[in-house]
Amino acid sequence: MTAGDLPITTGNPDQGFEGYRFVGYNLYDSLVLWDLSKTAADKATDIKPGLASEWHVDEGNDKRWIFRLRDAVKWHDGCDLTADDVVWNYSHSANDKAPEFDPAQYAQAHFYLGNVAGVSKIDEHTVAFDTTVTDSLLPYELSYWLLISPCRAKEVKYNWTEYAQRPSGTGPYRFDSAVPHQRMELLPNKNYWDAARVPKQDRLVLVPMPEASTRTAALLSGQVNWIEAPSPDAIDRLKAAGMQIVTNAYPHNWTYQLNFANGAFADKRVRQAANYALNRTDMKEMLNGLMLEGYSTLPPSTPYYGHPKIYQYDPAKAKQLLQEAQCLPCRVSLAISTSGSGQMQSLPMNELVKSQMDAAGFEVKLEPMDWNALLAVTREGVDKHKEYNAINVSRQTQDPFNALIRHVWTPQWAPKGANWGHHSNPEMDKLITAIFAEFDAQKRLKLLTQLNESMNEEAALIFVAHDLNPRAMSPKVHGFVQAQSWFQDLTPVSLDQ
């Protein structure tokens, strides 16, 4: 793993989506899961039934969702999954007065449960989720909410440190052991409710290795069979040693969120100029081919990509737009990080963006800071950070809300939400309200497509790249199919002895 440490095991993990990929979705399940099967390799992943076998919105109340739980699911500790467990988990993640409340889980899960007003039991295997607003996207939001065993939590008397050492979920792997900061070992859950996903390995050993060269050396020396995110300049060496390099498009967006409240990017022509200024082919070459050229918030395989306006490299047009906007040279300041989750090769990529934008009439000032500091700038929003015209924070685009809505919706203005630069457009807000109110998936798809196309037309972001999620593995590894997702199914993977 690229993570600096082992992800926490008390439910929703830390360490970004890598924590979900290797620990979260292996130990635990959510009511709604992501389809990571072979069929998901050629298209963007979508949700599928998880611990809930089916769900629907209440016919008489569009702020109430009904989830039917799967029968005969057992926690790793042997207890049965019931509707009470779901209600308890909500309290565990959201009710700071409840004895089972865990602030760390609240922090991780609240973002996904923000629209939930309460959860109640209908019968032993049915629960109702009441929402504060009409929310047709709730199943997507619940796909990130991992359920833990109340039995085990009560057994350890809500001591979360102890629970972390004896976690109990319903996932395809069960916890075996962990040496702090060194490795975590998981064993197959032979009784997993989805028989097709019982792991084919004897043991899954997870080792945090934040340093890319260390990961490469560990794979080449045979110490590990699989590494995440080899650096682009190590690919040829790995291939020469017979290693498999696996890549696929996935919902990732290496981008700049823009300051709409003040400064140069408040003018649409300047935003469009910045997009025309970028030669993404050069960027791809610099990264040894390990990226998709980014011309939209979404990778083209996303079902609601549509036919957005494409800003092909055209520095002359960029300069002309800057002239029209009377911003030449156009001074902009970009807050960037030296590294960070999903930031790819942050410094060289930002340097290249700067040189290309400068060549087209901008005068770019890069403001590097560490990842933590950039996250603070991101959360606090543009009101507190007027000095920046844009921030370079990579985003996941796996579900409609995270992909599109949060960037442009007025109620999401930071620090309340993730609309850092306070973008606001009444037409878009109306469209977003319609999306939340549309429960027909096909009709909603059309609205989402319209939103993506509008965001491109407005040049709501500077589009640069989509990562290809490279990973390298020994020739002994078989059976892995890389889904177009941040999450991956490790259960079909087997290893030659």
Binding site: D5, Q108, G114, P180, S213, Q223, A373, R379, A418
Partner: protein, 318 residues
């Protein structure tokens, strides 16, 4: 002597207090959020406020400091925000892992550096001196993370003689010095860690020995007919206090753990712990580690001072 030791121990208290105030302040001056590790990037202001309250980070800084200090005095260093493990456990385990590296790196560095420096100083200006001094300069100048990566490429990747990273094979639960399957993980980080202290000690010892050899008493010893070996013994003994001061500093450096070396080898020592705590803004771990490491430095300096005064009574304090 006992009064001197007691006095030095008493001096350590304000030093530790000063260090804790400075490290507490620095952690908060740095931009970023101490709860970053438990919050997703898109945490809202409301989420942050509730979590800050739950962790006690909503209180004024002086109050937070006093609460922390009150707990530390009773031996409670708090709980890591990132791992939820007691900080004392985190720091003590990391220190033990670093001490394991130091246990081998210290004798390797001190013996090699001292011998190289003594030989060079004894033959100052001659070809042996030039070769040894050149080697010492290389040792000091090589970035240790670079050296670590090169050693990994040669010994782990190309020849597959040693493991590239980690601290023990899969399935092992503890580190045994009696098993090669464990000990082999020590070899590359120990060599990498020892390289800079070897260079520094070789240069220091060389300078000290060369300086002492030019002093009048050495001439007197020779005039009295002592053998060259006996003269050398006197020279080495007289050069020792100066060398020991540097050894003390290097011992502290080795025991403090090297962030770069431990990161390259994913060695779960105090340097690695510190770097993760800095990146995650894991304030309790950061404060606990810095405090303990500063106390280690204070204790090391005390021991070095005592050893110096034992070797050279002229510098014994009252």
């Amino acid at each position: 002597m006992i009064r001197y030791i007691l006095r030095r121990i008493l001096y350590a208290i304000p030093i530790a207090f000063g260090v804790s105030v400075v490290c507490f302040s620095l952690v908060y001056i740095a931009p970023g959020d101490p709860l970053q590790t438990v919050m997703p990037p898109d945490a809202t202001a409301e989420t942050i406020a509730i979590v800050k309250h739950a962790y006690g980070f909503d209180k004024p800084l002086p109050i937070q400091f006093l609460i922390w200090l009150g707990r530390v005095v009773t031996g409670d260093f708090g709980v890591s925000i990132a791992t939820r493990r007691p900080v004392f456990l985190e720091v003590s385990e990391a220190l033990a892992n670093t001490a394991l590296l130091a246990m081998f790196a210290v004798p390797l560095a001190f013996f090699t550096g001292y011998v190289m420096g003594a030989v060079a100083g004894s033959f100052a200006g001659r070809w042996v001196d030039r070769v040894v001094t050149g080697a010492a300069v290389v040792g000091v100048s090589l970035p240790n993370y670079w050296l670590g990566i090169v050693l990994v490429i040669v010994f782990a990747v190309e020849y597959m003689l040693l493991p590239a990273t980690g601290m023990g094979p899969n399935g092992s639960t503890g580190f045994s010095l009696l098993q090669w399957s464990n000990v082999q993980f020590l070899v590359l980080p120990v060599i990498t860690l020892a390289m800079i202290p070897i260079g520094i000690l070789a240069r220091t010892t060389r300078a000290a020995v060369a300086e002492v050899r030019n002093q009048d008493f050495v001439q007197t010893l020779r005039a009295k007919g002592l053998s060259e070996w006996a003269v050398t013994r006197h020279v080495l003994k007289n050069a020792m206090p100066q060398v020991m001061a540097v050894m003390g500093l290097q011992f502290g450096y080795l025991l403090g753990g090297s962030i770069l070396v431990e990161t390259v080898f994913t060695w779960p020592g105090s340097g690695f712990l510190l770097s993760k705590a800095i990146i995650n803004r894991d304030v309790p771990v950061l404060q606990g580690t810095i405090l303990v490491l500063s106390l280690v430095f204070v204790a090391t300096n005390l021991v070095v001072d005592l050893l110096q005064s034992l070797i050279d009574p002229r510098i014994r304090r009252a």
